[in-house]
Amino acid sequence: MLAVLGLPLAGGALLALWGHEKWAPELNSAVSFCTFIAAILLAWKVLVSGPMVVLNEQFFIDSFNVFLVVLTAFVAFTTTLFSRPYMRNEALLSALSNYQLRLYHSMYQIFCFTMLLALTTNNLGILWVAMEGATLATVLLVSLYRTRASLEAAWKYFILCGVGIAQALFGTILIYFASEKVLGAGGAALLWTHLDAAKGSLEPTVLSIAFVFLIVGYGTKVGLVPLHSWLPDAHAEGPTPVSAVLSGLLLNVALYAVVRCKILVEGALHNRFADDLMIGFGLITVLTAAFLLWRQKDIKRLFGYSSIEHMGLMTFAFGIGANFAGLLHMTVHSLTKSAIFFSVGHAVQHSGTQAMEAIRGLVRLPAIGWGLMLGALAILGMPPFGVFASEFLILTHAMQSHPWSTPVLLVALGVAFASIFGKVQSMVWGESAGKALPHAQASLPILLHLALVLLLGLYIPPYLARWYSEAARLIG
């Protein structure tokens, strides 16, 4: 448990000192790998002995968050594998200084730390602190290149998420305000385990106001329309490994926070307010993002919007109670989206631009071209990839519980398909005009992710399925 949190923190400190060295990427990977192993051990323990509360009740691990911990650690690890050749290329192509490299490596680990902290903490306050920390860590990563565009993106990111997160804090205060009556003042009143036990007796009015603030607040980080505006910019301008973890992990963590709060509010309210809110946000997000995809010209913005769309879909899924599908979608989305960003990163290096019309013939680098093509198809919900499985479950669930919503979803999925696929196709096929990369590209993480997504599309191992069902039950 401690290792899961301690390792990235220590790694961050180490890399702050030596992040510019030649072996820094290896160290980065090694730290992430150890974190991953620790996460697996943790998961194993939870799987065997059930939920646990440790360290003076400050940390709480159940099947819901432990699965996200493993996912986060895993994607963080594979991203470091990708980041190694990518940043080497980047250091040559964009002439990064030692300071920037140090900053990058250490912030990367700090970012992982804050995400893991947000996932494992039992204290809603700490959850908030960690979320804010994650924002701060990534702001610096987004503005790493110090170009006008990246500064602009980072500024928007900072302000919008800052405001959002402040609203979430207000929501948290309101929850504390309500729980204090029941649990008494002091530390216990913000501990999720206690709140969960007492959620039935919390004051409904307070909690519904709190939930509005929380969903607007954390929803900003999730990227729910109309609070999403920071997301495409931040994805487009940061280094690609950061885009990969932003899309693949941070959004998940934010959604995790929303869902945790939803569980409480739902328990207190005894009505469908929280669900309806999530459904509404989800649908608006999916639809808007789909149409916005149509207009994109920058490859990373394109996939940024695609992340928005998928977060909307997940929010919708949790809203209608398709929790199993939502969790599965979280998993496959972060695997697929990060794989796509890996390919995109190299593709951009290969062609020297992020403008899609200038990218052609990526298939000349088979791992990149095929990675992007298959990844895009996977994210669009093409079987036999796992995204299809989760979308199938979400859609079928929606058809039974909220039939009116299915046309909206289908329109959105159709438009998203036309938008993304048309663009990806013209980038992957055709004659290549790019130049060779100075360092060999990272094919392994791409293939690994896609293989996992393919596997999940055809077969969900029983222990994973049990895990999901367990977590889905927890969510309610």
Binding site: Q58, N123, G125, I126, W128, V129, E132, G133, L136, V139, L140, S143, R146, T147, R148, A149, L151, E152, A153, A154, W155, K156, F158, I159, G162, V163, A166, Q167, L169, F170, I173, L174, Y176, F177, A178, E180, K181, A185, G186, G187, A189, L190, E203, T205, V206, I209, P232, D233, A236, L292, R295, Q296, K297, R301
Partner: protein
């Protein structure tokens, strides 16, 4: 109503007044001063609550607030405007009189929302939650109407103040761990922003946010 409670209500109304003042203030330097006063008010109110309720950790809290929001942050901000040489801000979306009207509407909304809640509060300061909420929303409004980066940050920080006020006055403060974390985040955030300002100025030769509108989608 006990005296301390009345006093706190007074401080709360001062906060609200300050929020309006900030909303109408065009000069950045005065804005920061107002922010300082806001921090001061906050610290005082925290201390008063601490003394009334004998919540010792609130003293630390008050101290923290004071040092951070009255001393450190204004100092940093003032230094910055001196170095960056920005004095005036211009309102962008809405002019100031209309902003005030919107602000009043917001206060009404916030009060009405808080009405059912404040009955529940067991603290001596129950009616303040509406004011805290109004402060938060007013600060948000201020961020929307300003075009200079620094005034946005001030708005952001005053929002933080509103939150803090909500936390102390309605619930006698959050657990210490949380508060420390919040404070750390705010501090780091401001430091990062400082770095940012210089970078932005270096690249754009200005701190005007209208330069940061390039990422439109055609």
């Amino acid at each position: 109503m006990p005296l301390s409670s009345q006093f706190i209500n007074l401080l709360a109304s001062i906060l609200l007044l300050l929020a309006f003042a900030m909303l109408s203030q065009r000069r950045i330097r005065s804005l920061i001063r107002l922010f300082m006063v806001q921090g001061m008010t906050l610290a005082v109110s925290t201390a008063v609550i601490a003394s009334t309720t004998n919540q010792s950790h609130l003293y630390y809290s008050a101290l923290l607030t004071f040092s951070l929001k009255v001393v450190i942050l204004p100092w940093i901000l003032l230094r910055m405007i001196r170095q960056l040489n920005v004095e005036w801000d211009v309102e962008t979306l809405i002019n100031i009189p209309s902003t005030m009207l919107v602000g009043i509407a917001i206060v009404i909304v916030a009060f009405n929302l808080a009405l059912p809640i404040s009955h529940l509060a067991g603290t001596i300061t129950r009616s303040t939650i509406g004011i805290a909420m109004a402060c938060v929303l007013l600060s948000l409004l201020m961020m929307i109407t300003r075009s200079k980066a620094i005034s946005q940050v001030v708005g952001f920080l005053s929002m933080e103040n509103g939150l803090f006020f909500a936390a102390t006055s309605t619930t006698y403060g959050m657990p210490m761990v949380v508060e420390l974390g919040v404070a750390l985040d705010v501090l780091v955030g401001v430091l990062i922003l400082g770095v940012f300002f210089f970078q932005i100025r270096e690249k754009f030769e200005s701190l005007d946010l209208r330069h940061l509108e390039k990422a439109e989608e055609e």
